[in-house]
Amino acid sequence: MNVELEELVRRFGHTQAVAGVSLRAGPGVFGLLGPNGAGKTSLLRMMATVLPPTSGRLELLSRDPGDHAERREIRRRLGYLPQNLGYYPGFTVVDFIEYFALLKDMPPRQVPRAVVAAVERVGLGDKARSKLKTLSGGMLRRVGIAQAIVNDPELLLLDEPTAGLDPEQRVAFRTLLREIGERGTVVVSTHLVEDVGAACTEVALMDQGRIVFHGTPHQLTARGEGTGAAGDAPLERGYSAVLAAARS
């Protein structure tokens, strides 16, 4: 198991962003679905060791993120793409990725080849030495994905990774996820239901800080059958059906 959450809670003042989530995830691609404000980002931030939980047990890559030394070990094997990445306009694509590769404690000798591999993997080979300020939104997103995968992470956390990507790039991206999911755990938080269906082996649906569904995409689709729930695609109908049931 790469991720183990038990009754995880995160409070901000009086609001509970995450209200008791339990989850276990091994290798594979794990989709986190839910409407805005469901708590997906807070959950992801806790898994990225950026936000400490208010209560509950969290174990990542068999280590405790509350311990300083173990947290560092987790972070070396972690890849994280936040929802709002931010970038250094004057840096080039390779500068940016190399910078974070070094901050992840990658051995310096391995860094250049790893950076090249990551850049080519996301299809930015002919933009390698372009300054970030010259790139489009979709390209910047791909730079973000590249820095997340540069250290060949065992745990890859992606928050809305496909924003700005065109359909062809999204297909390439899903292939990338499946490849990484063969050895490590990938957690993708998205509100694009179709991304989930195509790439994920397991799906959790969050609403108001809780998990209201946990299973395969197929099972989620099944939940929508015959309910007359809203949605153009079977998976969307499953999504709506589960949400409706959770809120009633």
């Binding site: 995160r10 901000f12 609001t15 962003a17 404000g37 708590g39 980002t41 807070s42 931030r45 990225a48 060791t49 950026v50 936000l51 400490p52 560092r72 972070r75 070396r76 972690l78 994280y80 793409l81 936040p82 709002n84 990445l85 931010g86 970038y87 250094y88 390779v94 190399e98 910078y99 974070f100 070094l102 901050l103 992840k104 404690d105 310096p108 860094v111 250049p112 080849r113 950076v115 090249v116 591999a117 850049v119 080519e120 080979g125 390698a128 030495r129 820095q147």
Partner: protein, 232 residues
């Protein structure tokens, strides 16, 4: 990467990776390699050499301001270097790192080399650089020894204030404003109370209050950088 194939047992992608690794990426400079050895962390060294306020332009500006101070001191015998340097250093520290200046801050918080280490290293480097420049300029302008070294203490206090303000407000500009105004107020108060512009700098009785103030600001920085403040 190539659509066409070479021989089946020759990995052209691997070849290209090797080529691009040398074409796209530069080998780290001497300073960075030295820093990597001293700090025992290549990541920290890279963070250091990319500090916004340690870039050449900034360093030149700092040197220019202190030279101006030096020149002014020759003319008027007021130790302008001692008066300028804390303000300049505070600005440099505020622009070293932090949420106000670092757009990829969220990502930086998930790094193995912790953002707190980066902050500390950069702040110390900026402070050190300003201190060295200041000492040289101050000594060269013939100011009294007490003043030449005396301003290091208030400079530390002002920098700590700037850093605390910047990390608390998550804004480099707030840090600069706090540092500058804090220093200006102190200097003017010193002038009002003791009649001398240099009172804020030279008084030995002020050392303890300055250090206590520095410690408080330092504690505030440590506290602010330990608990990441989040939004859902």
């Amino acid at each position: 990467m190539t659509d066409r194939c070479g021989p089946p047992d020759v990995d052209l992608d691997r070849v290209w990776t090797g080529v691009a690794a040398q074409v796209w990426l530069r080998r780290p400079g001497r300073i960075e390699r030295l820093a990597a050895q001293l700090l025992r962390s290549p990541g920290l060294a890279r963070a250091l050499v990319t500090t916004p306020s340690l870039l050449t332009g900034w360093v030149i500006a700092t040197a220019a301001i202190l030279l101006a101070g030096m020149a002014a001191t020759w003319g008027t015998h007021t130790p302008y270097v001692a008066l300028f340097d804390p303000a300049v250093a505070a600005a440099g520290i505020a622009y070293a790192y932090g949420p106000g200046i670092d757009p990829a801050w969220e990502l930086s918080q998930s790094m193995a080399v912790s953002d707190r280490m980066v902050l500390l290293t950069r702040a110390l480097a900026v402070f050190g650089l300003n201190a060295v420049f200041g000492l040289l300029a101050s000594a060269a302008s013939g100011a009294a020894v007490a003043v030449t070294f005396g301003w290091l203490v208030p400079m530390t206090a002002v920098c700590a204030l700037a850093l605390a303000a910047a990390t608390l407000a998550r804004s480099a500009n707030v840090g600069v404003a706090a540092g500058m105004s804090g220093w200006v107020i102190t200097v003017l108060a010193g002038k009002a109370i003791a009649g001398q512009v240099t009172a804020a700098v030279a008084g030995p009785s002020l050392v303890l209050p300055y250090l206590v103030f520095t410690a408080c600001c330092g504690a505030l920085v440590l506290y602010t950088t330990r608990i990441p403040r989040g939004t859902a």
